[in-house]
């Protein structure tokens, strides 16, 4: 997460901004092309504001045809293109390319069709995640993946990141809830991937497109699955005297054959931060709390809840509360949902990490993070999707204090390496983007990275779509990457050391 040169130079790229804008305007109306510095400013970063770049221009197409035009134009003059949804991404995926065009999909925000009997919705990429569920509500249906950013983030961004949410333990990630997409390649070709059936012809290109962080194509249409809205949801709040105990309770719930609708953990620092902010009523003396939700028919929920409480008690919970009504359920969740902004109020800046680990490693990794926190002298509350082992340590720092951001970056890199060592991954749902580009060198070997590049080349031979993101070049890994010794083997024995 240091800041070596992020973007390679693309040979023969058109650098004349006026000429580029003129060409874009051949297929896009004037109000859809921004190029004045004050117009470009709002696009200089996404949710990872530590990184900022100003693009040459921003194109805001209103139709797929205009997307095709913008891509063809850029391809013709070798100008990089960075797709952008709502800009809530936390890994810098939508960070502009300083010599490129940012292609914002925010104007394409129509719900094109909603079929309540087939339980599908066909939507444009700029539609907000929550807007789909709102439109489906009158049919008793909803779109299940619910990132905490769902009031703002776009479904196109969700597809590009394979986003998850609090309920994905039971209902899956974006990849499990999308039936089809239209993907425009950098050459302006429109590909229809997936279909209205449950599987599609040929290889599963949809699996490849989802989570590709805007590197393989631009998504212009998405068909999502809708699920019946559960009749009832109730949440158990359980407090524990140690992180280990809470971690064991998580394993015990799942070991007992229960798949909660959501299973989230917050540590003491996190509950302390949110209590000052939303008064969710969390027990502040607990080292960790768990929120364990059941949803379904009233009969199912009653049965689940009884078993959950039993397991929590047997796992040593010091306090157990059950939401009595919808208002209380929402109050229990309010703290979890506002954890990021709450931490943001305590400290000017934070990095949200996103490693995922096998749940049996929870205790070990959390203790490791505690140690690192002391070593770096930076606080690090933890809120996370415990049911799927997806951690969100929030590293708090003040960018105005010289050196602190670099310290925080190094702390973050160490956490991610800890996750990889524990058999996990550097990113569970936020994507690699620019933020974790160097940690990719710790997660993958050169042959694996080379395979990613080969796949990329099959879609985008000139590497014009979101260059510099998601998959590091081997060169970059050799120069800047985390060159630690992993399981006793050196990472890039065949590459020269610098």
């Amino acid at each position: 997460m240091g800041k070596p040169e992020l973007f390679e130079t693309i040979p023969d790229a058109l650098a004349d901004k006026d000429e580029l804008v003129r060409r874009l305007l051949e297929g896009l109306p004037a109000h859809c092309v921004l190029h004045a510095p004050e117009q470009l400013k709002p696009y200089e970063c996404d949710g990872l504001s530590a990184f900022r770049e100003v693009p040459l221009a921003v194109a805001l197409p209103e139709t797929e045809e205009q997307v095709v035009h913008a891509l063809r134009t850029c391809h013709g003059v070798r100008v990089p293109v960075v797709a952008r949804g709502a800009g809530t991404g936390l890994s810098g995926g939508a960070l502009p390319h300083p010599r490129g065009v940012t292609l914002g999909l925010s104007k394409m925000k129509s719900i094109l069709a909603l079929d309540p009997l087939a339980r599908t919705a066909r939507v444009q990429p700029g539609v907000r995640n929550l807007a789909i569920s709102e439109a489906a509500a009158k049919h008793g249906l909803y779109y299940a993946p619910d990132p905490s950013s769902q009031i703002a983030c776009s479904i196109g961004g969700n597809v590009a990141e394979n986003s998850g949410g609090v309920h994905c333990l039971k209902y899956g990630l974006t990849v499990h809830n999308v039936l089809a997409v239209r993907l425009v390649t950098i050459e302006g070709e429109v590909l229809e991937l997936g279909g209205e059936g449950l599987d599609a012809a040929g290889l599963d290109l949809l699996a490849l497109a989802i989570g590709s962080e805007g590197l393989l194509g631009v998504v212009t249409e998405i068909t999502v699955k809708l699920l019946p809205r559960p009749q009832l949801a109730r949440v158990v709040l359980a407090a524990f005297g140690s992180l280990e105990k809470a971690g064991e309770a998580v394993a015990n719930v799942i070991g007992a054959g229960i798949i909660p609708a959501g299973l989230e953990m917050m540590d003491r620092l996190a509950t302390g931060a949110v209590e000052q902010f939303v008064h969710a009523g969390y027990p502040l003396d607990a080292e960790a709390i768990l929120l364990c939700e059941s949803d379904g028919t009233p009969e199912e929920v009653a049965e689940d809840i009884e078993r959950m409480i039993e397991v929590m008690r047997a796992s040593g919970a010091t306090e157990i509360r059950l939401s009595r009504d919808e208002a209380e359920r929402l109050r229990f969740w309010s703290g979890r949902k506002s954890a990021f902004p709450a931490v943001g109020r305590l400290m000017p800046d934070y990095f949200c990490m996103d490693g995922t680990i096998p749940k049996r490693q929870l205790g070990r990794v959390l203790r490791g993070i505690e140690k690192l926190s002391a070593e770096f002298g930076l606080k690090c509350p933890n809120v996370f999707h415990a049911g799927d082992g997806n951690l969100h340590p929030l590293i708090m720092f003040d960018a105005n204090v010289p050196g602190q951001q670099e310290q925080a970056s190094r702390f973050g890199a160490r956490i991610l390496e800890l996750c990889v060592e524990a058999g996990g991954t550097i990113t569970g749902e936020h994507g690699v983007g620019i933020e974790k580009i160097d940690q990719m060198c710790a997660q993958f070997r050169p042959d694996e990275l080379a395979t990613f590049h080969a796949v990329k080349a099959a879609f985008d031979a000139q590497r014009l779509l979101n260059p510099g993101k998601a998959v590091p070049t081997l060169q970059r890994c050799a120069e800047f990457g985390a060159m630690h010794v992993h399981h006793g083997e050196q990472k890039f024995p065949e590459l020269p050391r610098f």
């Binding site: 049919h139 429109v190 019946p228 559960p230 054959g257």
Partner: protein, 351 residues
Amino acid sequence: MLDQFADTIRAAAARGASLRIRGGGGKDFYGVRLEGDVLDTTGHTGVVNYDPSELVITVRAGTPVAEVEAVLAGRGQMLAFEPPRLNAAGTIGGAIASGWSGPRRVAAGSARDFVLGVRLLDARARPLSFGGQVMKNVAGYDLSRFLAGSFGTLALITEVSLKVLPRPVAEATLRFELDEAAALDTVNRWAGQPLPLSASCHMDAALWVRLSGACAAVDAALARLGGERVDDAEAARFWASLRDQTHPFFATASTLWRLSIRGTAAPLGLGAQLTEWHGGLRWIAAPLEAQVAHAAARGSGGHATLYRADAALRSGGIQHLGSAVLALHQRLKQALDPQGLFGAHRLHPDF
């Protein structure tokens, strides 16, 4: 064993030969053409890692599905996508490489949906690993799920990590006398309501519906839906016969088309039919003209495959890919297996 596989791959590459990766061989009937020397995976067996509270199992590709399911059943868990067991030797590698899923797929998800990670040997015999053993992982392109359904055309899968689920506490099956149109409408309306539907089948003017979940939820649904309760043992046999395709409908059909389409699409009227996945999967046991089958599927938002037929007919039954999508398939094949070593022409005559 991995060294042996790598040697086989290298030797074939050196000879310019192609390899046909094979597990239990239960799917030998499937594909446009079977070419190349058999690379038998059945020696590479064993559960590498299984911790029920992680909901993850990691197994070597040659491990029989039956063995994996026995291990899971011992801890009250299952492969929720219900891979078809076309013979007793069927391997987990074959289950993932085919990507095929059974009746529960409509509620629980497909083989691909349950893939968390794979280890593989690529066309240069390099050991590679994608995905992992955790529930959520978005580092790099999702090559592990991409390999599901690739039928041995891209790489040799040597190990897979799969998400597993607890077996439902209660299960019950109901049967209703309904014609096809009414059954499609009924089952899709139910699927839009909070009911614990885990499978459906329509054939011979009867709709079969399986309910799975908490006891109370299944009981409540039984009371609400009515119909005729099928004896549990008979129901278990029935769903297994669909899953494993031992039901007489499958067993007796010499030509079998598989149409994966929008579940609510109107009845197709193309011949003897068995319907699964709330209408999303329609098996047609009739020697249809290829054009007719493809056009019908396309008109219903999906695609058709000649699933089983005489070798002479097979090439007419390949799934239709648009020209841009076909070209992308060819580029990807070229990128991952430039020599065309693996599974040449199994999925498509053009790669």
